[in-house]
Assembly symmetry: C2
Homo-oligomer: 499 residues x 2
Amino acid sequence: MFESAEIGHKVDKETYERELPALREALLDIQDELVRKRGFQVVIIVSGVDGGGRSESVHLLNEWLDPRHIETHGMGAPSDEELDRPPMWRFWRALPPHGKIGIFQGSWYSIPLLDRVYGKTRKVDLEESMEGNVRFEKMLSDEGALILKFWFHLSKPIQEKRLKALEKDPRTRWRVTERDWHHFSLYDKFRKTSAEALRLTSSAQAPWYIIEGSDERYRSLMLGKIVLEAMRLRLNSVHNPSHSIPSLPNLPRVDNLHILKSLDLAQKLDKSDYERKLEEYQGRLNVLTRDPRFKKISVIAVFEGNDAAGKGGSIRRVTGALDARMCQVIPIAAPTDEEKAQPYLWRFWRHAPRRGRLAIFDRSWYGRVLVERVEGYCSEYDWLRAYNEINEFETQLAEYGIVVVKFWLSISADEQLKRFKEREQTGFKHYKITDEDWRNRDRWTDYEQAVCDMVDRTSSDLAPWTLVPANDKYHARIQVIKTLCDRIEAGLKRVKGTK
Amino acid sequence: MFESAEIGHKVDKETYERELPALREALLDIQDELVRKRGFQVVIIVSGVDGGGRSESVHLLNEWLDPRHIETHGMGAPSDEELDRPPMWRFWRALPPHGKIGIFQGSWYSIPLLDRVYGKTRKVDLEESMEGNVRFEKMLSDEGALILKFWFHLSKPIQEKRLKALEKDPRTRWRVTERDWHHFSLYDKFRKTSAEALRLTSSAQAPWYIIEGSDERYRSLMLGKIVLEAMRLRLNSVHNPSHSIPSLPNLPRVDNLHILKSLDLAQKLDKSDYERKLEEYQGRLNVLTRDPRFKKISVIAVFEGNDAAGKGGSIRRVTGALDARMCQVIPIAAPTDEEKAQPYLWRFWRHAPRRGRLAIFDRSWYGRVLVERVEGYCSEYDWLRAYNEINEFETQLAEYGIVVVKFWLSISADEQLKRFKEREQTGFKHYKITDEDWRNRDRWTDYEQAVCDMVDRTSSDLAPWTLVPANDKYHARIQVIKTLCDRIEAGLKRVKGTK
């Protein structure tokens, strides 16, 4: 992996000074094009061995490019707000918007790599983390991001020499810490582990650029030229990640049965039963969220369903049981322009609740595989890859200890028609029914197909779908709140330590 | 203050149940209008004595209104990210966008009030905090926000009875804590202090609504009706806060002298002097930002100036001296739609740096009193009130220990013309010159007037303006970086504790 970066690459002063002005001008020009087009973001990871020139490279990029359109992130110790969310949350929130360059010195590689070198984790943990990184970068790349990963390498003797030289010079002495020497003592382990990590994560979308770090001029020219050429290539080509599209987006239907049809929509609850049970489960939900262990978990509840299936009413029965201060309902509408300048899932990640809180999504990230699929608002490739991205997202949430509960509220076409008509007649409900609702009704079977595929492809042990027969509102609301109670209770049981 | 809220207000069950359905329907209707129009935000503060019905009221609003368009904030202990910024930052970030209702249980009143009751602060501190609150609420109101401040009151004997009743019932016992009884022992002090606070902050834009809290039905009906009527009034009237506009936006000019003319634009530095000094000051700046005390402060540097005055070049000389990870350059462009749905200063508050960091603004909040004033992009009242709001903003930053440094880079009209022409001819600089730049030039004297007023009205000891003669770029850059060093050094000296 590092062979070519231990052979003593060098650039003489004359060559460097001859090439630099044109390189700098070209970099500014290409950055200007990026800023003006605002079509995608550039993510640059700067990593490698201590003394290999990481800080210098970050500094150089900020000097050569226009720093007003660069966001540089050190990603040191996470804040308490970050520790209260899944580990990737802090990287999502730090992603640059379209038109900007985000430089990460310290990235989604740092902690898994160091943990492994320090012997805190096993080989399989590292491998798992690296697979997660590949999926994350594939998502970014599919979303149009240009990802440039630099690894600045030094051979062992050169690194030792370099650390000593830095230490000797009073102006640079502060930069060499005990931690650096400790790392040096782990050089062989670090080299082997990072070679493994780089091998696992050098993908077609985001290959590693390994640069020998000992000669500053060589290192700087390489860095500048790779950034320039990669940006130029990306700006001058049509970005079309969908060439890898699978051939069969829709499964053939050979009989007339599907999972929605297997639901018994006739299930009912009478009013007195409903009121008794509602009080019971609201009380239980309230008690569960005041359990001391609840401070260690959080809850994401997703409400999807046919139009007029009663999502809002069910949500109100849930929030009615809760302390409003610990709960946030997030209605998913059209994305804002800040959200449009980011990968699809960004606008959901930003609402990930802190520990001890609940986030209730009224519609959700499933929009992509439902309305966007059916109405053709995104490409086939986009909604097909969404299943994997959503599974990855929910796995990260669940593995962090977030209870992910997903409801599909299902009503029959006849029941929907009845409710639409009722709404049109009822004074303060008429705003709930729009032309779009009527249009969606025309595509009933397409939506049915999309729902079945969604359930088949995204219902997992970690984040299962609950299909709720909702022709009877009482029945639906009780099933929702009971399910939520059961899932939270199971989540609390997984919390370590005494009650 | 509380007299009318100690007389035993009551509503009988029959009246309550008769009035409730119409009230709830009307509330939903009016909220729907708010959501559809998206013209402003509603800020509801819920406060008062323990047991007065604060939590119940928050819960009720969430039950009666559509919780999808409500954001409820408990505002408990601040997070570390919040502690790293001025106290008001957490309220700014929690402001609801236009079309939403933000409910604050725990607000900008809580800490000043409790600190005073606990004897941690003096009377003048409370008064100062309350004056700050009035200014904050005036700004919100001027920005169109509807502010509703509720105070739920109980007389002393009733509060005691209530706490005892809550404690007796096993279902509500958990709600009464030692803290509540401790507060009760301070009842008289609390009553006196809050009466004072309410008196100081009951303004025309944001009066307090004091509601007797002992009877749940009375309290709930009052709450619901006030919210309804206030929203109805606001939605049905043309919001025009500018009636209070002062009569003289522009001072008469009776001679031909002004502060920009008093600058000696001919100041120069030759290249070798420049290079020597640049290295010296960049070194000094770097050392200052690595001082252990720097972790306790932060820096906001504002760059304003004539078009082509060399802001970008000066900024690069500053960032060139810094670790890119601790510094963020924020170019101010057109606001995003999330920013448009908030008060003017929100988009600057959101970039307030954490401790130990620098934020460099390339253009800033002064846009309102410069380009927006001159080009008529906002009303006269808006830019006139901006001076006060900006002073308030910068005072909060400075009092928190943030070093606020503001540069106006000044060039002559002739020098600007020369630079415009140069830019049009230079390859990679041509993008820097736009039609707008040429248009702005036509209004040179209007801008001059605006700059003079800005300096006169916003240069303070806490956040002084530095006027930089910038016809000579070398001179300008050195003055900028030297000023920054001096101000940071002074800021470090104010940090308590040893070096």
